[in-house]
Amino acid sequence: MEHNYRTDLWVDWCPGCGDFGILSAIQQSLAEIDKNPENYVMVSGIGCSAKTPHYVNVSGIHTLHGRGIPFATGIKLANPNLTVILDGGDGDILSIGAGHFVAAGRRNVDMTIIIHNNGVYGLTKGQASPTMPRGLKTKGLQRPNIYDSLNPVAVALSVGYTFVARAFAFDIKNTKDILVKAIKHKGTAVVDLLQPCPTYNDINTKEWYEKRIYYLDKDPTWDPIVRKADEEEVEKKYLQGIQKSLEWEEKIPLGIFYQNEFVPSYEERINNNIPTYFTDPPATSKICDGNGLPLARMDKIFSDRLIRK
């Protein structure tokens, strides 16, 4: 029987929320990839987006505000055979969790980060998030926003993410296609998912986006993938991605900005130091015999601590 990727919980987002589209796209992408459902783990931080794991019928861990990335990392490092997908909000990942977002780019653990990008903190009544431009006064704000916004795609590229893409929550088919590629990517994939908030962001609405978005892959010359492991190729594709990421306001590109699978994953780097890492990963490695006697022997460790003539 086919696995049902929906749980039977009532989904408690506001009617018209972009998160519904993201949820459907996730469920469809998991079904399409068709792994053993036990091998998926959905991770989230805190906020509206953070409910997502409860609505997907695979293991889920709803964690602390801003800490989705380290929680996801711990799971993957303990068992590199699992497929780990993190849903975070723009405040979650780019404000309180921004340090983790930078560090994760440097690690390149094989996992997927989905940023639910709506420009506001929904659950706390619509405060401005790091992606809301300066000067905007959405209806939840007392005064226009006096912070400048950051560009999630450009930040992701600059800190070393090896797959950076953008999708629009209300184009479920395209979002699903991008998520499948992100999940299959070796290394950390970041998807900036434009997700209108119908309750608190009355400026960047579904209609606002629909007038501006366009698809990068409609241009047959657009090639975001690093094809060979040489510096020139990497630089070319990287700069092209950065340049594209600067487009906003009039025209908003969707699709893959950059992908490079030549960068070793963090797990591969561990396996270089510990050659049994993939074959005997931490989560399933035996630690004692049937009588509880520990297996680890410390004789070698002790050798330079040995005191003798």
């Binding site: 036990e38 380290p70 711990g74 006697l293 680890a296 601590r305």
Partner: protein, 635 residues
């Protein structure tokens, strides 16, 4: 009584090889069959500031250090100033005569406050403000001065091209051992044991030892006592940090996360160098194979604890190690581990707080915080260790308890433990049993990770084995969010009830130990690295005919309330000994047992408490001269 009992301090600039000197001394005496134990004191600084190693040598187990010292080895011009109070009649002070003329004001590494104290003291006693002045002051206290020209001895041993400062540590250590009367054969072996891997370095250092011994026999011949060889056995030198690392790996550690912080990071550092090790195959025909432990240097302590928690829920035995500032950052996540019943171990090495405080100095002031870390009510275990043997075994027990009762375990230690050099006989694997309980079975369909069960412990589930949900929100048995009041009540009762289960299942000797007779006039209560000092002081008081016992508390949560109450309710006098300002263990006793403790012996200057000051303090408290004595030893 130990026939041999020598305290030595060797001091010099940070980065000047004090650590190697410590290794040379401990290894040499251990090779000769003696017992040795020492602590390193240092500034939060890489190079230049004053650092020293305090060691005691006996022919029986060394459990404490003591002032005044028998030998003060000064490798630079700062040491005689800052340690001039640490000497008494017949203390041997060896110093570099080339720096005799150095003025107090020329010692730029001295902190102005310290300089002022020294200046006032020397001036009031009528000594000049130079190294010579401080030496003369020590002479007046009864010290025997042994001048050595470091430059000419290094020159004699290695020629003029070698910088004397580089060999000051070996030279100072060798002369000290020559003065103690340790046969040079053992010092040579100690040197070989420290530098054995680097041939050229070893040869140079051997020449230094030779010159040092010749110098002492020619010019001095002064010996505290001729130390002959004892029964020799192979032993190991370990710091507290290393002992915990080893205990953790034996206990099944597979993923350790950390963010660099003193004095915790040395544990993870050591593990990084030993992350690929031998293990038994565990089958019928026992063979050796390779295994690993993944050490992750995270971007901060919040990340470190988060990775450890989720790694634990994926099935690995995981831990993180930190100190006060990092532990403060972890508090929220510890609550997450509490509500999600996650078996994770946090090794907390206390240092002087609050804030950055005294980052490289000792403290026991994080006990209240560890006990209460995290918002809301949730169960955790807080256990402490007092010495290296306990430390290694407790590292295994911490994992066992975490897994059996499905909760975070805080293993609370301190800087004195972390930076002590211990000599151990090796590992008795039979004492390090791994206990597993309710490990997950692979199961199809819906899995109730937080199921209410007869025995009060839910079935464990791991990502990859079971489809399950975790959330920091209150949740139902499946792990989905609920705010239903009845479920909330039941979940609270289930979680908190585990503390009672733990208290029943954990052996009493892992919770608290009473040393000495039940019947006593004075009961000392303390915890952690004070253990050995108090045992030594208790022996001394007993010899004087005092009826003293010692209630040593190992587990702070859950608290061994009945055991402690039964002992303390009949005590005639209770003295609380702790390295903090507020008497945090006494507060915990009051909270749990409704027993007031009125006499305190405390220390919070960050330096290691010593046998003499604990002895003096307890005597003062017994005599009723004071109810609160603060210990101040240490430069």
């Amino acid at each position: 009584m130990s026939e041999v009992d020598i305290d030595l301090i060797i001091g010099g600039p940070q980065g000047g090889g004090i650590d190697s000197a410590a290794q040379i001394i401990i290894r040499s005496f251990s090779i000769a069959g003696y017992e040795a134990y020492g602590i390193r004191e240092y500034h939060s600084n890489i190079k230049g500031r004053h650092s020293y190693f305090h060691v005691r040598i006996k022919d029986e187990e060394v459990r404490s250090l003591r002032y005044p010292v028998d030998i003060l080895a000064c490798l630079d011009s700062e040491t005689p100033f800052v340690h001039m109070y640490d000497v008494t009649k017949n203390t041997i002070v060896l110093f570099d005569e080339d720096v005799k003329g150095t003025k107090l004001n020329q010692v730029l590494t001295l902190e102005p406050e310290t300089k002022k104290h020294i200046e006032e003291k020397l001036q009031s006693e009528g000594y000049e403000l130079t190294v010579s002045g401080s030496l003369e002051y020590m002479k007046k206290r009864g010290a025997i001065l042994v001048p050595v020209s470091f430059r000419s001895l290094v020159n004699e041993a290695l020629g003029p091209s070698k910088p004397p400062a580089r060999y000051a540590n070996t030279l100072g250590a060798s002369i000290s051992m020559a003065l103690m009367g340790l046969d040079s054969e053992f010092t040579m072996s100690g040197i070989a044991s420290v530098f054995g891997k680097k041939k050229e370095v070893l040869e140079d250092n051997e020449k230094i030892v030779k010159v040092a011994y010749e110098y002492i026999s020619k010019n001095n011949g002064l010996k505290i006592k001729k130390l002959g060889p004892k029964t020799v056995r192979e032993r190991y030198i370990l710091t507290g940090n290393e002992a915990i690392a080893i205990g953790k790996v034996i206990g099944g550690l597979k993923l350790q996360t950390y963010y660099p912080i003193t004095p915790a990071a040395d544990e993870s550092f050591f593990l990084e160098g030993h992350d690929y090790f031998d293990e038994l195959s565990g089958g019928e025909n026992e063979t050796l194979r390779k295994s690993g432990v993944v050490i992750v240097q995270a971007e901060d302590e919040i990340s470190a604890i988060a990775m450890a928690i989720s790694g634990a829920m994926t099935g690995a035995r995981t831990a993180t190690g930190t100190s006060g500032p990092g532990f403060s950052l972890m508090a929220e996540a510890i609550g997450y581990a509490g509500i999600n019943e996650v078996p994770v171990v946090i090794t907390l090495y206390q240092r002087g707080g609050p804030s950055t405080g005294l980052p490289t100095r000792n403290s026991q002031a994080d006990l209240s915080f560890a006990v209460n870390a995290g918002h809301g009510d949730f169960p955790k275990i807080v256990l402490s260790s007092g010495d290296v043997q306990e430390g290694i075994e407790d590292a295994v027990k911490a994992f066992n308890f975490a897994e059996m009762f499905q909760l975070p375990v805080i293993h609370i230690l301190d800087k004195n433990f972390a930076n002590s050099f211990y000599v151990v006989d090796g590992i008795d694997y039979d004492r390090m049993k791994i206990k597993r309980w309710k490990l997950p079975e692979k199961q199809e369909g819906e899995f109730e990770r937080f199921k209410f069960t007869e025995d009060g412990i839910s079935p464990m589930g791991f990502f990859g084995k079971n489809i399950m949900w975790l959330t920091g929100d209150e949740h139902n048995e499946i792990g989905h969010i609920t705010e239903d009041p009845e479920t909330r009540d039941a979940m609270m009762v289930k979680r908190m009830g585990k503390l009672e289960i733990a208290k029943k299942m954990i052996p009493l000797e892992d919770q608290a130990i009473l040393f000495g007779d039940k019947d006593a006039d004075v009961t000392i209560v303390s915890w952690g690295s004070n253990k050995g000092i108090i045992l030594d002081v208790m022996d001394k008081l007993k010899q004087e005919g005092k009826k003293v016992n010692f209630l040593y508390i190992r587990m702070m949560v859950p608290f061994p309330t009945d055991f402690v109450t039964n002992i303390l309710k009949n005590s005639k006098m209770i003295i609380d000994v702790e390295n903090n300002y507020t008497g945090q263990l006494a507060m915990l006793i009051k909270q749990n047992c409704a027993i007031n403790i009125n006499k305190y012996l405390l220390k919070y200057n960050g330096r290691h408490p010593t046998e003499d000051e604990v002895y003096d303090g307890i005597k003062k408290l017994i005599d009723g001269k004071s109810n609160r004595v603060v210990m101040t030893n240490g430069a």
